[in-house]
Symmetry: C2
Subunit: 427 residues, 2 copies
């Protein structure tokens, strides 16, 4: 399944035999005009399928695709059977989608809604991954244990505390289930969420969604975020299985059903880009603790030089300031806390805003910034540990407003014949 389908898998009732001919005609007639606008054949023949099944869910340590569509759902199903049925259906559809197929086989009967909305026909898999998580509401909601799993809630799945400066919008926060779709084509990621949302009619409904993107950075380079800084330099190495086991995958400390899974924290962080753009580059560098253009830590020369948090300048002041972003976020300052950031830039256009700081600046501004997505073995010693101090002290807070927030536990990978979350729900 490394080759995406090059023609529609299905021809309509009145032109059942026309698919291939139509495709040929399309190429013949339109090829010259369109060739420049389409991806090259080399791209189409690259390995495009990320395996859906395995010991861990894909989309966690999978190298980041260029687009995400992250969705949170509220569950309407009243009992465990309803939730199990939803997850079974989702598992089957998700596996098909990650292979570049339609969510279900398209019916020859056109007098019914399509089993797939069709906008991804012919696009291939494009490295689509679909990663599922369970929010606190699965284990208890309004004091009710709807699915009989309250006793299985991992201790590490805490409700996130209110952090200093939080400006959370309820309609962009929380959720019972999470679905992170990532692909190298935005329409494929959107399509996948849309199909699973359709299959959930009556059992779960979308609470919020957020699209995100990464630049198409050349191989081997760290992508830059919308602040113009390289972002992800200090991530733990995804190709180091021991590091991943230590920092990302839930181990023996969790209940059996969740081992091999991970916790994801999502934060929608609006950045005051207009304000940022008006600040001096060296001020930006002091704020971040890194050089803007090379990505090197202040006092270092190369992007991957270690942070020297003890280095002082001639006046005896730290070269990386006490309130610099990289210092406050470093493992050294946080009892060794590590998280795997897998975030995306987001851009939701412009709207009227009054900035947190300075409070007198207001007007039409970008609602853009960072869709922060981070995986970790334990959020108490991961994101929460890191962000407790950062939310109070980080110099970057002058430019950042956290407007959305959610936490989910991602169960382990789906093995052959199983459905997502089976180890929790079938006992």
């Amino acid at each position: 399944m490394n080759e995406p389908p090059r023609s529609c898998p299905f021809a309509s009732r009145r032109s059942l035999l026309a698919g291939t001919a139509a495709l040929a005609a399309a190429i013949t007639t339109r090829g010259a005009a369109r060739a420049e606008s389409a991806p090259s054949p080399e791209v189409a023949s690259a390995p495009l399928v990320v395996p859906f099944r395995g010991p861990h869910q894909s989309g966690i340590i999978t190298p980041a695709q260029s687009h995400t569509y992250f969705a949170a759902f509220d569950v309407a199903a009243a009992n465990r059977d309803g939730l199990v049925e939803l997850l079974r259906v989702w598992t089957d559809a998700a596996e098909r989608l990650t292979l570049g197929k339609t969510a279900a086989v398209l019916d020859q009967d056109l007098a019914a809604p399509g089993a797939d909305s069709g906008e991804a026909l012919g696009l291939g898999a494009s490295r689509l991954t679909l990663t599922f998580g369970f929010g606190p509401g699965i284990f208890a909601k309004d004091g009710v244990d709807r699915f009989g799993v309250a006793g299985q809630r991992p201790a590490a799945l805490v409700d996130l505390p209110r952090f200093n400066g939080d400006q959370l919008i309820p309609a962009k926060s929380g959720g019972d289930l999470s679905l992170q779709a990532c692909a190298d084509d935005p329409q494929i990621a959107f399509h996948a969420v849309r199909q699973l949302a359709r299959l959930a009619y009556g059992a779960a409904q979308i609470r919020w969604v957020q699209a995100g993107f990464l630049p198409r950075t050349p191989p081997g380079e760290t992508p830059r975020n919308l602040m113009g800084f390289k972002d992800g330099t200090n991530n733990p190495p995804i190709d180091d299985a021991a590091a991943m086991a230590n920092t990302i995958w839930i181990g023996e400390e969790g209940p059996a059903w969740v081992r091999g899974g991970s916790y994801v924290v999502v934060r929608r962080i609006r950045i005051a880009l207009e304000h940022w753009d008006r600040t001096e580059v060296d001020f930006q560098e002091q704020t971040m603790g890194r050089h803007k253009y090379t990505g090197a830590p202040l006092g270092g020369a190369h992007e991957f030089d270690p942070l020297d948090l003890d280095a002082k300048d001639g006046d005896g002041n730290p070269i990386i300031a006490e309130n610099a972003h990289v210092r406050l976020g470093s493992a050294a300052m946080n009892d060794g806390a590590r998280i795997l950031r897998r975030g995306y830039a987001y851009d939701d256009g412009v709207n009227f805003t009054a900035e947190r700081w300075p409070p007198w600046r207001q007007g039409m501004e970008y609602d853009a910034g960072l869709l922060f997505i981070a995986y970790q073995r334990d959020p108490r010693t991961g994101f929460i540990r890191l962000f407790e101090s950062m939310s109070k002290l980080d110099a970057l807070n002058q430019f950042a407003s956290h407007t959305g927030s959610a936490i989910f536990v991602c169960p382990p990978g789906v093995r052959a014949g199983e459905f997502i979350g089976q180890s929790l729900l079938v006992t």
Copy 2:
């Protein structure tokens, strides 16, 4: 300039010599983990620069890039000199950006805001085009001829009428200036608009923006829209200079300053995707007048078969219904009207909505659909002619709400030494 820069063009004060070494280190350390996530070298070496200068503006008949960021600005400059200065600065920056450069040369002095926000460093040009337009407000606003050009307003630059069913949001409509950024990387399109918006501080401010995307459809195939149908099949051929001269480029009928330009109409069309997804495929096909999977017109076998508007079924009813989208939008039904659609899918997440039809359906729904962008030689005989009847009769209206609208005249291309709109403003 076909090769994008592969490293930062500028090294910071404290590590001026470190750029190349840092790049090498990055590749060495991270290459294995990141290779899968980045575009292949074949993509990077493809022709990536679309010439900015020429007889026509680029971005009109340029084969569509995968992403757009469309912005409308309101002009704050009080007189012609202020507007000219803005357009001079924009022209210089736009030309640099389309070459894959920063908006201006980055200053070695870091104690000042950067001349470029930096998020596109190292990404190359990625076929960036920047297309400018003048809205009605340039020629008169609130009865005032701010720039002394009221007498130069082309007769064809009419204010769009209110169409049947319009649900326009003022904050997503209108504008004095338009800037259409298109590229094969969303961050490059966003970056370009952001730089020009920065350069406009005090002279113009963003009124609205809208991001859009296209799927990465294989070469020679027509991309599908979010309704799952191929979209653009019947566009006039962009490689046919005579057809473009007839239908897209303003000719002798316009004032001299605008010849070689074009008119653009932008409509933000929200599609009730959840409603659409619940309808039968054959109902969708009757609505559109085309087969969903092949793209062939009803009664035809191949995507590019001509529409047979006279064909009848056994009962004597038209095979392509009287209210089918393709019939109402056809040149044959509209005195030969043709427009060049260059639209994108848009997706702004979900929000609460009450549908136009059926009026009782309401809840969290996608704010997604089509960012309709169409170029034409004369909007009176182009979009307005087409949409007058479509807005009343098109079966597709059950699913579509026009929430944003704007019209602009795009001046001709920029010749060497000139700035955009010079033929209007320097007389």
